[in-house]
């Protein structure tokens, strides 16, 4: 990667407010990502291809796809988020930006939260926007597609947030990618169960309020706790190197 292509983080003085610092980190991450467009496209292509595998590999029957569609989309989204997580801190770690981030006077967990939000905006959000098209391809009904998008909208930030802990823990390790999946997939399972459960309930015509409330609770829990764990893990990984 071309070193000049990566904007640096300018030292922020302690006078800079927390929100301003988070905005600076967020906009820098967006800038970095848009200078590497291929990295943005890869998780999306992966998402589409995994979904394509199911009709080809299992069954193209409408009845099967209608029943399994939500689960397929969720699993594919989960895997593609997992795939992109390695990038969350890796490049910053390699070129020393991460150390600058830790040295900023603003609390690290806020900056980590800003980075995670940027990660979600770059990977999770496009998945949510792409989901309706794929939902039609797996013959989901209109109502199910709407509910599916809603669950993805609530669920993908949770995936990014939980994933940030794993990404921070495995930073700088050999075979970090496989280890990352090993650590994070168990923690993703509840989100997956409730995400697909919501769509199944909607397809049966049952009320989805309870499911959505639980997913909202996951999100609140992840937003409040994951950045702390991730920033603690980052400090450990940095002291390790």
């Amino acid at each position: 990667m071309n070193a000049e292509a990566r904007p640096v983080i300018k030292p922020l003085s302690s006078g800079v407010g927390n929100v301003a610092a988070m905005k600076a980190v967020f906009s820098r991450d967006m800038k970095v990502a848009f200078r590497q467009r291929q990295d943005l496209l890869n998780p999306l292509l992966f998402f589409v291809m995994v979904v394509t595998l199911f009709p080809l590999g299992v069954s193209p029957e409408v009845s099967f796809l209608r029943e399994a569609g939500a689960g397929i989309l969720w699993v594919a989204a989960l895997l593609s988020v997992l795939l992109s997580l390695d990038h969350l801190f890796r490049h910053d770690f390699d070129d020393g930006t991460l150390e600058q981030l830790v040295l900023q006077p603003q609390p690290l967990f806020l900056l980590v939260l800003a980075k995670t939000v940027a990660h979600w905006a770059l990977t999770g959000l496009p998945l949510v926007l792409l989901a309706p098209v794929l939902g039609v391809m797996v013959h989901l009904e209109g109502n199910s597609i709407a509910v599916l998008c809603l669950t993805l909208l609530i669920g993908t930030p949770v995936l990014s947030l939980i994933g940030s802990i794993g990404a921070a823990l495995t930073l700088g390790l050999r075979s970090a990618g496989v280890l990352l999946s090993l650590l994070i997939i168990p923690l993703y399972i509840p989100v997956l169960i409730f995400g697909t459960g919501t769509v199944a309930a909607a397809a049966e015509g049952a009320s989805v309020d309870a499911y959505l409330a639980l997913m909202g609770a996951f999100l609140v829990l992840a937003v409040t706790l994951a950045p702390f764990a991730a920033s603690a893990a980052l400090r450990i990984s940095l002291s390790n190197s």
């Binding site: 923690l187 829990l221 390790n240």
Partner: protein, 247 residues
């Protein structure tokens, strides 16, 4: 009080205490476990519904109970590692994680053996079973992360963070049989209520659980001692200890 706290930070002190405790833990554990299992398998009355097949409860429940209990102990030790940087807490986490993995596997396995005659299937995607499977994965992740990081101190703290993150799964396991309408029967024991079983059934079960706790204590001491010997191999007292054993 503070002195005990202080002493707990000393691997050498712990090594001595563990050496003295271990015979008692092992003897008590084996005695209770044998008593509980022999009583439970041989003499406890038949269940009115499940007949003799329920008897695996005397192995299944203790392992499942301890599998979760060990994870909670690890989480407490993880807090101690992160807050007070106490060496022994980290030694504990590292030493018992594989034990927890094996206990979780045994709980799943005996559950499958029990499930076959009562539910007609080895495995079902039920909430309690799935969350126990997640616990198995969590133990695996903890061990894998510990092996992946070479530096001892970073490994200890990274593992502690991971253990604490995984703790969210424990209440899910605990309440899975109450929150969801599942095939798995509700908890056998509750601290706050009188058991619904006759005493001839729950006393041997309690004995097996206590016995397994003691055996686990023995195993934890043994594995911690080994870990301490490896870590402190350059110190004077370990050299003396090893030489004394050889003489």
């Amino acid at each position: 009080m503070w002195q005990i706290f202080h002493k707990l930070g000393s691997p050498k002190w712990f090594f001595g205490i563990a050496t003295r405790l271990m015979p008692w833990l092992l003897a008590g554990g084996v005695l209770l476990l044998m008593g509980g299992i022999v009583w439970g398998l041989g003499f406890a009355p038949k269940d009115y519904l499940q007949g003799n097949s329920y008897r695996i409860i005397f192995i299944h429940v203790p392992t499942a109970f301890l599998a979760q209990s060990v994870y909670i102990m690890m989480a407490v030790a993880a807090v101690v590692t992160l807050v007070w940087r106490m060496k022994l807490a980290d030694v504990f986490v590292k030493a018992v994680a594989p034990v927890g993995l094996v206990l979780t596997f045994l709980a799943l396995f005996t559950g499958a053996v029990w499930g076959k005659p009562t539910w007609g299937t080895w495995w079902i995607w039920d909430a309690r079973l799935t969350s126990m499977l997640i616990l198995l994965f969590l133990y695996g992740g903890v061990i894998a992360l510990d092996r992946a990081i070479n530096d001892e101190k970073s490994a200890a703290r990274a593992v502690a963070v991971l253990v604490l993150v995984g703790v969210v799964n424990i209440p899910i396991i605990k309440y899975s049989v109450e929150w969801w309408n599942t095939l798995h029967q509700p908890a056998t024991f509750k601290l706050t209520e009188k058991p619904s079983m006759p005493p001839e059934m729950w006393v041997p079960l309690l004995l097996s659980i206590l016995g397994l706790y003691l055996v686990f204590g023995w195993l934890a001491c043994l594995r911690m001692q080994t870990e301490i010997l490896v870590r402190e191999q350059r110190t004077r007292w370990v050299k003396d200890h090893v030489m004394a054993g050889r003489a």
